[in-house]
């Protein structure tokens, strides 16, 4: 059947036929999944809000609107007239602009954390799994030791000792985020290593690092991508927690965690929007990532091939 189709294709045009890669198959399956597409749409909207929100906001995220200060509960309500579409915070700063800015920080933290974990974790795990034996033993014990350290404590210590800064936040998150990924990548590599196509490459004389790059990593990528999409929200949650403790990004910069913290503090003063607006973005983004992650897992599921 395939052969006759191939012949027909060949007669139709002499140019080489484009194959359907597993990626293309997965993409088609992903876009058939309604929840995943909806999640992706939400994420695109949130990202657009983070990128373009500051441009369309009528207020700057750090300027105080003196006309509402002192009467935030009344004058600071969300309204179209005074340009505070999402209302203001307790200090009279525009919540729309601040939420957009906070979204930038939170998304960045999530994506940088996930990227570090993908790059470092995948490579580390693939090398450990591929070489096996003593190299594997040593490399994975290192991971075990790092994992046994209460990272939240370390992160807080880092922030306290070196001062609160974006860089410290990224370093702290980067330090822990790749550990799980390394374990996952190693586990997958152990099974891949025994596949016959890897053996064929070894027998041919392909070098070990070329094999890792050409044969192991591309076959890990499905699992890695799925895990990374689920990692982004957990990074965002870490950052929010840190900010909630008052150790996150520094004023006037903000993040979802910081905004939620501020909003929660004002809960009893009849200014519920200060909590609900950032919470809304936080929640829909987490759901967006979870749906996309789920959709990717189904789309890339090897059992389906």
């Amino acid at each position: 059947m395939l052969a006759t189709k191939a012949i027909a294709d060949d007669l139709a045009g002499a140019a080489p036929i484009k194959g359907r890669s597993l990626w293309a198959d997965a993409r088609a399956r992903f876009f058939r999944n309604k929840a995943a597409v909806a999640g992706l749409f939400v994420l695109v909207c949130v990202a657009a809000f983070a990128l373009f929100g500051p441009l369309i906001a009528t207020w700057n995220y750090e300027d105080i609107d003196w006309t509402v200060l002192g009467n935030v509960a009344e004058a600071g309500r969300p309204s179209l007239e005074n340009g505070h579409w999402f209302g203001t915070d307790a200090l009279g700063r525009d919540l729309f602009a601040r939420t957009a800015q906070g979204t930038q920080v939170s998304l960045m933290v999530g994506i940088v954390g996930a990227l570090i974990s993908v790059i470092v974790g995948t490579f580390y795990g693939a090398v450990a799994g591929y070489f096996g034996g003593r190299i594997d033993g040593v490399m994975m014990r290192v991971v075990d030791v790092l994992m046994s350290i209460p990272y939240m404590f370390v992160l807080i210590l880092l922030l306290v000792v070196f001062g609160r800064s974006m860089l410290m936040l990224f370093i702290g998150i980067g330090l822990v985020s790749w550990l799980d990924m390394a374990r996952i990548a190693r586990g997958q590599t152990l099974t891949l290593r025994n596949k016959e196509f890897v053996e064929a490459a070894v027998a041919t004389g392909v070098g070990p690092f070329t094999i890792i790059r050409r044969h192991i990593v591309p076959n890990l990528l499905g699992v890695v991508i799925v895990y990374a999409t689920l990692l982004v929200p957990s990074m965002i949650i870490y950052e929010s927690f840190i900010s909630f403790l008052g150790l996150g990004v520094q004023e006037p910069l903000t993040s979802w965690g910081a905004l939620i913290n501020d909003g929660a503090a004002e809960m009893n003063n009849g200014t519920l929007w200060m909590l609900l607006v950032p919470l809304f973005f936080f929640v829909i983004t987490l759901f967006g990532f979870f749906f996309v992650g789920d959709g990717l897992r189904d789309a890339l599921d090897p059992k389906d091939r």
Binding site: P16, G19, R20, L22, E196, F197, T204
Partner: protein, 337 residues
């Protein structure tokens, strides 16, 4: 007789296996996958390697292509010891020896196009080739194995089993190796496709003067295409001889059982024939029987068999057998029929 291309000299392969639930400090069990195997292969000839599942055929093949290390003995390529080569030299040696696998689809990286798969050995060993030259040679090779060169950008999962095996053959032959190790290349294929693939391999052998090591779990295909046949049981080569000689005068009781298990095309002859079917299962290679490893299933076993490993005996030109009682039972066996 020409000089051997490949000389496998008393090769043993031992795997360390850790039993589940064992303490980390208990020494791992030793699994003798191959024990004292000796075979030789001449240029342009086919050696059939036959034995049931688990007898160590693939492991011996891996020791020959160098993906597992022999724990004892030597693998000599044109007289040069493989193990004495530097890792870089060993990788370069991959150009001369290629392998074809049992599961055609599993042997192809699902993320690579067929063109990339076939080109890999070429670009590995000849990194200076231009892109267009690689493309041209891949196209030619695809054509030679009966695939349309226009399919280079397709992915392995878009092909049938037989086509995948052709891709595997194209990959194995693109560096123009001198030896191709075929590890049960047709057992996963439909019977009709099997014949096509075997014919293709034979044609290529004739064209290029290839040597083939052809592995199979029964004699049905091997007996027709091999010049020599070696029979393996539980890691040992129990008998080896020229193909016609082995089929006509099998000496080892295991070889006889293997021959008997191949159906004869004529139903009448089939019915008239005595078929000593092997009973029992292959013993665990972790705890092989003492003395002759075949003794737990041997129809002519005697008490002495448990005491010592039967020595390899030359019973004719190029015919060796590892059973001291090989001559004494032929009549006895056929008379019980």
């Amino acid at each position: 007789m020409s000089a051997p291309l490949l000389d496998v000299d008393n090769v043993s392969v031992t795997f360390n296996v850790t039993r589940q639930g064992a303490w980390p400090w208990t020494p791992p069990g030793k699994l003798q996958a191959v024990k004292d195997a000796t075979i030789a292969l001449e240029p342009g000839k086919t050696l059939g390697l036959v034995g049931e599942s688990g007898s160590g055929k693939s492991t011996l093949a891996r020791a020959i292509v160098g993906t597992v290390h022999a724990s004892a003995g030597r693998v000599l390529w044109r007289g040069e010891d493989l193990r004495a080569m530097s890792p870089a030299r060993q990788r370069a040696h991959g150009r001369h020896v290629q392998m074809i696998f049992q599961d055609p689809l599993a042997a192809l990286n699902p993320r690579m196009t067929v063109g990339q798969v076939v080109a890999e050995p070429l670009t590995t060993h000849y990194p200076d080739l231009s892109k267009s030259e690689v493309r041209e040679r891949v196209g030619k090779m695809m054509e030679r194995v009966g695939l349309l060169p226009a399919l280079v950008n397709r992915y392995p999962h878009e092909f049938s089993g037989g086509q995948c095996q052709r891709i595997g053959i194209a990959r194995a032959l693109i560096t123009e190796p001198e030896l191709v190790v075929c590890d049960e290349p047709v057992s996963a294929l439909d019977v009709s496709v099997q014949a096509q693939v075997v014919n293709l391999l034979q044609d290529l052998q004739r064209e290029r003067g290839l040597s083939l090591l052809f592995i199979a779990h029964d004699l049905s295909v091997v007996r027709h295409i091999s010049h020599k046949i070696a029979v393996m049981y539980l890691g040992r080569i129990v008998e080896s001889a020229a193909a016609a000689d082995l089929i006509a005068n099998p000496r080892h009781p295991y070889t006889r059982a293997l021959i008997a298990s191949v159906p004869i095309p004529s139903p009448k002859a089939e019915r008239a024939r005595h078929r000593p079917v092997l009973e029992g299962e292959l013993p665990s290679p972790l705890a092989p029987p003492s003395g002759c490893v075949f003794r737990t299933r041997c129809p002519i076993v005697r008490p002495a068999c448990a005491e010592r490993v039967p020595p390899v005996e030359h019973v004719g030109p190029d015919h060796v057998v590892a059973c001291p009682y090989h001559g004494q039972d032929a009549e006895a066996q056929s008379s019980t029929a």
